[in-house]
Symmetry: C2
């Protein structure tokens, strides 16, 4: 890869050329993965390794096409396998993240949100699923966490048997870089369901954020990716992400998760942002009429949202003009709810310098650092 | 029912006490229904009538609780069956609609959006489903349409076999009061799917609007009401409506329905409004990157939305202040996309006088009359 002269944003995303003295940039969505799925084999029990060698890992797929080149930035040439198009042959490697992301943009912390094993939660066999999540965590701790203390880890868990997720959380949650768990949007039940509560209890106990990120939509046991069945095209699948984010957020609030686990925080990445606004307004109005049906929801739904749910900035919605952009941020209470996410190294990633218009300094600090710092307890 | 003295809004929703000389108020969602499901029997073929007499009509239900009193306004006492709580025993009767809605609010036209047979589309037997839709239409034409020429009819159709819907459209679409078809949000596939195209073709041929209204979420063959499975409570089911509206709107645009049927109009009632804004912004941005995958989508998705999709005002979202209300209306392009809907006589209905803050006169006319007039070709 060739770096063009002058392309490096010397001071972005800070505001001056002076030395920085505090956290300025936390990126809540950076993907790491294995170079090839076989990289997980050393971390798998022998029985599953043997099955995987003979039959492949068999994560379910949804059948929706993605972009050409399978989702990664084509400017990151070293990450592309020039001989094929299998994403599992790609190398989201450490040198690239360091040189072309952490160092280039002066990222203070980057949450590694994984890839590869999102499908574990919709695998039929919960023990195999748990083994793949555990293997990916061991791989991440060994090959990523050790290399740079700017990495925060959103550990993989699978939900097929919540007890396996709880065990895995207890096993590694006290690692100083582990700050979250990562779950896919696509799953069999919305995340407020009591089925998942033991996982939330373990997260609260260890101070882990519950991360939710697109994945598994319409695949395996996840069911259709919309409330009206299977759409046809990739763009529709992408547009289903805000819908799934809404369903999870509503469920978490309506089932009283934030009353039961009052310090729990949820990060919803890569589902855009504006669904949050209509949801808060609509759910608040409905709650006023219907709260006798869910008496454990003691406050306005928007209060739970603003207190507990954080939305990642990528893909940052593009209003028709800057005025609407700022109106949207105010409606969203972005100073509380919005965190910067790059989605590095995917094709539709958002860099920290050009994604936003110039924000007021207070809001800039909240979005690019403070909201995430508070969420992760840094 | 007792009318309180002074309760009648003399001039609402007009702007002066002077005589009105043009269309001022079109209500795009007024429910009519049968007093009891047996009222449909005279219109059913003998075989189905016999089955229904022996086994009931058997429309699928979803198992979600609704509000006490089963959804209707308790102030409309004559519509309540004081001996029971079965909505099918309720009488949404003509006298009430005339006295306490059409006359009270000076409604010029009211779209009768039905009830009772929304479940036809998710019945397993497509011929029985078509027979119930046909029976409901015959009942509506005989007992409602004839009584007041302010009624416009959104005719019932079922989608289990699109050919039956096409036949029913050809049968009655030229009745001067029939202006739309009515479909439930909950169905097996999103409405852009090619499966439905023969229905859209027939609608375009007869100038009928395609109406979509909440119904069937999670019931019968409709599948789960969210993209992440079945939520637990009624409020979650209500919050799934914007999600389903998004899925249908995205599908209609992505599958090129409005290129194939360039005069087709779609009315989405009772799903709130603000989902439209994020959807237009997000889908426009995605389309710029992905349009090679759906080359029949020739314009920005928001252009199709603004040109072809209309959203009903009920339930009108309640922003934190009037300033945000007007910002939202602008982002929504409400002067093109928003139509007034009351959802009469349901408990969460919105009256035409107090639901909105005072709108600028041009916008008022568009929302309360002109957008609907153009949609229905009045």
């Amino acid at each position: 890869m060739v770096i063009m002269a002058g392309a490096k944003p010397i001071t972005a995303p800070g505001w001056t050329g002076t030395e920085r003295t505090s956290l300025a940039l936390i990126d809540c969505d950076v993907h790491q993965t294995v170079r090839q799925i076989e990289d997980l084999f050393p971390y798998l029990p022998r029985a599953y390794r043997q099955q995987a060698q003979e039959q492949g890992i068999r994560f379910p797929g949804s059948g929706y096409f993605n972009v050409a080149g399978d989702a990664a930035r084509t400017d990151l040439e070293t990450s592309c396998d020039r001989d094929g198009h299998n994403i599992r042959k790609r190398d989201y490697n450490f040198d690239e993240v360091r040189d072309h992301h952490l160092n280039m943009w002066h990222v203070d912390y980057a949450l590694l949100t994984g890839a590869s094993v999102y499908g574990a939660s919709i695998l039929p066999d919960p023990d195999f699923a748990a083994a793949t999540a555990r293997a990916f965590n061991d791989y991440t701790l060994e090959h990523w966490a050790t290399k740079d203390d700017r990495f925060l880890i959103a550990m993989a868990v699978s939900t097929g048997d919540p007890r396996t997720a709880v065990e895995e959380i207890h096993r590694i949650a006290d690692h100083p870089q582990v700050k979250a768990i990562m779950l896919p949007t696509g799953n069999r039940m919305p995340y407020g369901n009591r089925y998942y509560h033991p996982i939330w209890e373990a997260c609260e106990q260890h101070g882990l954020v519950v991360g939710i990120h697109p994945g598994n939509e319409g695949a395996g046991m996840a069911g259709p990716p919309t409330g009206v069945g299977y759409p046809t095209y990739y763009i529709e699948n992408r547009m289903a992400r805000p819908q799934m984010a809404m369903a999870h957020a509503v469920s978490l609030i309506a089932e009283g998760v934030f009353e039961k686990y009052p310090t729990l925080k949820v990060l919803i990445d890569e589902c855009d942002q504006f669904w949050s606004v209509g949801l808060m307004w609509h759910m608040d109005a409905d709650w006023k009429s219907l709260r006798d049906q869910t008496p454990w929801v003691k406050k306005l739904p928007s209060e739970y949202f603003r207190g507990h749910i954080r939305v990642g900035s990528q893909p940052m919605l593009e209003p028709e003009n800057h005025e609407q952009f700022f109106q949207m941020l105010e409606m969203l209470h972005a100073d509380e709810t919005l965190v910067y996410s790059s989605d590095w190294p995917h094709w539709d990633w958002d860099d920290p310098a050009t994604t936003f218009p110039k924000l007021p300094e207070h809001l800039h600090k909240r979005v690019f650092a403070e909201n995430a710092r508070e969420m992760f307890g840094l």
